[in-house]
Symmetry: C2
Subunit: 275 residues, 2 copies
Amino acid sequence: MEQLPSLDDLSLFVDVAREGGLAGAARRTGATVPTISRKMTALERQMGRKLFERGPRGYALTAEGRAVLEQLQDLKDVQARLMRSLGQPDAVRVRVTAGAWTASYLARRLAQVWDKDDPWRLEFVESTRMLDIARRDADIGIRSRRPDQPWLAGRRTSKVEFAVYAASDDVRGFVALSADGPLTPSVRWVREQHGAEIITTACEEGTLVDLAVAGVGRVVMPTFVAKDVQGLKQVGPIIPELSHDEWLVCHHEARHDPPIRAALEAVASLLTSKP
Amino acid sequence: MEQLPSLDDLSLFVDVAREGGLAGAARRTGATVPTISRKMTALERQMGRKLFERGPRGYALTAEGRAVLEQLQDLKDVQARLMRSLGQPDAVRVRVTAGAWTASYLARRLAQVWDKDDPWRLEFVESTRMLDIARRDADIGIRSRRPDQPWLAGRRTSKVEFAVYAASDDVRGFVALSADGPLTPSVRWVREQHGAEIITTACEEGTLVDLAVAGVGRVVMPTFVAKDVQGLKQVGPIIPELSHDEWLVCHHEARHDPPIRAALEAVASLLTSKP
DNA sequence: GAGTTTGATTTCAAAAATGGAACAATTGCC
DNA sequence: GGCAATTGTTCCATTTTTGAAATCAAACTC
């Protein structure tokens, strides 16, 4: 047997074996008896094995046929499972890549725009790993610049502004992201302006916030995120160098993909309504 | 989707998705690009879902397509496994139903006629459970009478004779099968002739032999089995009432099934050469 | 910016698969 | 023993599927 017989023919073989004949298999599958007859003889020819004993009361498996049937058990299992699952497929997963700050903001508010019965589901993917929307590694991206690639569609959502926050006015020193990670503008700004005052570093934004709340140091973070954090107060002005627009980006063609479109609208509504 | 799409089409869908386009899938599967193109549009129509985004560089999955692809992962696994396993299928298992005595005898001598590279393998199935060769529950049966059903083919192998054995001449009493099991002629004979002398009972013939070797009692068993047992000597004459012919039986059509035929010959050669 | 490459669709004739009807073989039933 | 019922196969006309060639479209290349 140089190559695998058609999966459909193998599946049909199982039906014939289980029904004990062509007539039963025909009733079950909807194909006609002559068709199945020809398919089974062709299958035997292709596999070079006699699979059935033809008797006047139907088909009986040969010893070889029984051995083959055993191998095909899973095939029918998979088929049955697909039958059920393809009917109502899992909610489509729309992958969104966003910085940790924005991801956190989205995650907190997602319930406002998403219901568990919606036909899509957000899936946050690391934006540190360089992900390419053009290559469809992610469906939706949140970036700080208008995309210049022509095949990406972008829309502005709102302005992002950074300020310094701390548990109280008298906290000195800063907590900052470690320099191993991606050097975003805000990371660079802290190191340039207050490099000497950095008390401790962390590798995740969430940890940074926890440290700041605990009074370990001041933290530079976006205003729209800080609003959600209990126990932090703004202790400095908006940092003009770090202010930028925020762009919602997706592949040009993906915009016409209904689930992606729905997710895009939901994310956009959250981000543009940012105070 | 009222009914499951063809497994072959689903498999093809996975190929297209993995290759990222029709051209790649065509190279992989051997079908031509137009064919695959038509099949994929038909699949989308049947499933009522847009699975791909057609771009000038090939096909890209939609979010829905990705969800479907995930569901189909196993399908390809099964297909790959079948590819390997159907090539060299397991050795065919020929099911033989025999009484415990004969099964034991066959098992001991099987190596004389069977090699692990043979394309068939004997599988002993309980003969206590009523198995019907006509219904193909077993392929080969060993019986004590010529079969009277016309669709069973039988051949005589040799005469089976019973006698009383014991560890030594001075062992008194008998060990016998318990009366719960099937009442074979030899079981009935012991209970009728020596019912009062039964020391202990067992439910398996093997245990019975062990008991007899240990000197617990005498045992009624076939001469051809007793020859294999170290430590037992014949302590009585052949019991004429229990002598009978032994018949090798199989379904008439199964005789033409090469592996069954081979097994049949092997078993027959063992049984007819019985001393 | 014209030409080449890559990838998909459409067209059309040939090949293959299909289903109905006729036929054959056997079982089961009076 | 004959008749109806069940099960498969063969034959043939029809439908469907297929592949080669032509066409189209976008994207690289020089």
